[in-house]
């Protein structure tokens, strides 16, 4: 199998890019540790809208990174790129809307 | 059908044995039917819990042994129904869909009857149970037995349609068998409504829901057995299908 030098370069760059995506995902996950402690009062958990909203938003950021980078949507045709972005938006809007509507009712 | 040459076993081999099991099954069914004290005459849906409990108390052995017989042999009818399904391969159909319908309901119909024998046997299992519970099991048994006709109605309807669609010079079953199945299906329908009334011809002990329904099933068995035997006799030997009607192109024919 002939491997041209350009192929090797792109392979290296894509490998690096995938690694960076993974690093970002892990970093965002670790941020959760900080958020978690920010709201809790000692051992007991306290309700917090700020924590809830940021938890959901960070999860959506991770979902989008997974789709774009790891699932390779960034090389997909526009319809799939838009559809996956739409999905992220739908998930976010549904979750936050249910949360706020639920709070308003409660 | 080119695969059928050489020393390949005849597809119809053993079918006569199944056909001749029918008289034995019918004898056992008749014996069980007459042995069960609740069939001649049929138990009344108007009986009180105490009366029903007394019935089981007095007839314990006959209820148990007759229902064990039914429990064993209600499924013995499935092989006969499979013979009918096998005859359907010779029909001038393009697809096996109607045969699949028949195979499906042929499996489910005896299972419904099986379920009702389970309820009768539970009712008879503890005669010292509270009469209220014995009545409950008795109701479950009778409703399952009487109303549980959907797969029998389906069987007759699918057969009627399959025979009507069997447009060839020498159809597998004569045309009148289709009409006969329609009549039987119609005779079975009122039994499904037996839950609506405790008295009159439509109650589970009534003329229509009990006598007409069960006679129809008995008649169906006898007539279809005769028609089945004729269809098997008419069928040519191992080379059946190759002589053929161009319309015989069911893709599942060799399945």
């Amino acid at each position: 199998m002939a491997t041209t030098s350009t192929e090797t370069t792109t392979s290296t760059s894509s490998r690096l890019r995938t690694f960076v995506a993974w690093l970002l995902l892990v970093a965002v996950t670790v941020i959760y540790l900080g958020i978690d402690h920010s709201a809790d009062d000692g051992g007991t958990l306290v309700a917090s809208t700020a924590v809830t909203v940021s938890a959901v938003l960070l999860a959506l950021v991770k979902v989008r990174i997974i789709m774009r980078e790891l699932m390779d949507v960034r090389h997909a045709p526009p319809f799939l790129r838009r559809l996956t972005d739409l999905l992220v938006a739908v998930i976010g809007v549904s979750l936050l809307a249910t949360y706020f509507v639920g709070q308003a009712i409660a | 059908m080119a695969e059928l040459d050489g020393e390949v076993a005849r597809p119809g081999s053993g079918e006569r044995v199944i056909l001749w099991s029918l008289p034995a099954v019918v004898v056992i069914w008749m014996a069980a039917f007459l042995l069960f004290p609740g069939f001649v005459p049929p138990m009344s849906p108007r009986a009180s819990a105490t009366e029903v409990a007394d019935f089981y108390d007095e007839n314990l052995s006959r209820v148990r042994y007759s229902m064990i017989l039914f429990n064993w042999f209600c499924v013995a009818f499935i092989p006969i129904l499979m013979l009918i399904a096998e005859r359907m391969r010779g029909m001038a159909h393009r697809t096996p869909v109607l045969r699949y319908c028949v195979i499906g309901v042929a499996g489910a119909a005896p299972i419904v009857f099986l379920t009702s024998t389970v309820f009768w046997l539970i009712a008879a299992f503890r005669p010292d149970r509270s009469p209220e519970l014995t009545l409950l099991y008795n109701d479950l048994a009778w409703i399952t037995f009487t109303c549980g006709v959907p797969f029998l109605v389906g069987l007759c309807a699918f057969l009627a349609l399959a025979i009507a669609y069997d447009a060839q010079e020498r159809p597998v079953f004569p045309r009148w068998v289709a009409w006969f199945n329609v009549v039987i299906a119609v005779a079975l329908v009122p039994a499904g409504f037996a839950g609506l009334t405790p008295s009159g011809p439509f109650a589970w002990d009534g003329l229509v829901s009990f006598w007409v329904r069960n006679s129809a099933i008995g008649l169906w068995i006898v007539v279809m057995a005769v028609a089945l035997r004729q269809a098997m006799d008419r069928e040519p030997g191992p080379d059946r299908g190759s002589s053929g009607d161009p319309a015989r192109t069911e893709i599942g024919a060799e399945a």
């Binding site: - | 159909h93 869909v97 499906g104 409703i143 109303c147 699918f158 499904g192």
Partner: protein, 259 residues
């Protein structure tokens, strides 16, 4: 042109019979369960014995008439299953898939929809029965109906595997994956054996409403796709051809009648 002449003249008449029957049976089923008997959406699993007596009394005629219709016409359900079995039979996979599907669904019909008919009829025919016994029948009816949905898990997986292995292009591959979605929501009904109240009970938001939404979508989609299969079928053994060109697509089952 009427449906009847369509069914007589068409070489695909058996297939069309099965397809129209499928539509008719699902319609009947909806009318009986949602309309006549009002057993869907289901009753509350947490009813006290006395409340189940009232529940039966409040819909006595509907239960008796509705389930009598199922007693008479329930065998019609075989047409949908036989048609699906045929669609699998038309694929390039073993007949074992088709036969498994056929046997699995038809035998499962007995506990799956006949038990609720029997239990509810027995409950409705004697409203004076003791409250405990009525509650027992109420539970038997709903749990045998809803709880046995798990059977569809294996059924959907059989259909899915056949579609994904098929080389005859009988169904689009995305429908294979939709079977997986359906199979996974059938799992969700299992907690109804455990919970008497909440989102996972047999009337719960997750176990009933979301499940029914997914199952309804799935059913609608496969009824439509089965129709496409019939239109495309050439009774051959190889890949199914595309829909005949130039032929107007009949989107609605009655469109031909209306024209």
């Amino acid at each position: 042109m009427s449906i009847v002449s369509n069914l007589r003249a068409d070489p695909k008449r058996e297939l069309w019979f099965a397809w129209y029957s499928t539509v008719a049976f699902y319609s009947l089923y909806s009318v009986v369960f949602f309309g006549l008997t009002r057993t869907q959406p289901p009753g509350k699993p947490w009813l006290e014995p006395e409340q189940t007596v009232e529940w039966f009394a409040g819909r006595q005629d509907g239960l008796l008439v509705g389930f009598a219709l199922i007693f008479v016409l329930g065998g019609w359900s075989a047409t949908a299953i036989a048609l699906i079995a045929y669609s699998i039979r038309r694929m390039s996979v073993s007949r074992a898939f088709a036969y498994s599907y056929l046997v699995l669904y038809l035998i499962a019909a007995v506990p799956g929809f006949l038990f609720i008919c029997v239990a509810m009829t027995v409950g409705a025919m004697r409203p004076e029965r003791s409250p405990e016994a009525q509650q027992w029948l109420y539970d038997l009816g709903f749990l045998s109906f809803s709880g046995t949905m798990g059977v569809f898990l294996v059924g959907s997986l059989i259909w899915m595997t056949a579609i994904l292995l098929d080389k005859n292009r009988v169904f689009p591959r995305w429908f294979g994956y939709l079977n997986l979605c359906n199979a996974l929501t059938e799992v969700v009904i299992a907690p109804s054996w455990i919970f008497q109240r909440g989102v996972l009970a047999w009337d719960g938001v997750i176990a009933w409403w979301i499940d029914v939404a997914v199952f309804g979508t799935y059913t609608g989609v496969f009824i439509y796709l089965l129709r496409e299969v019939i239109v495309r079928d050439d009774f051959g053994r190889g890949p199914l051809p595309d829909a005949p060109p130039g032929r107007p697509r009949r989107w609605h089952p009655l469109a031909k009648v209306v024209r």
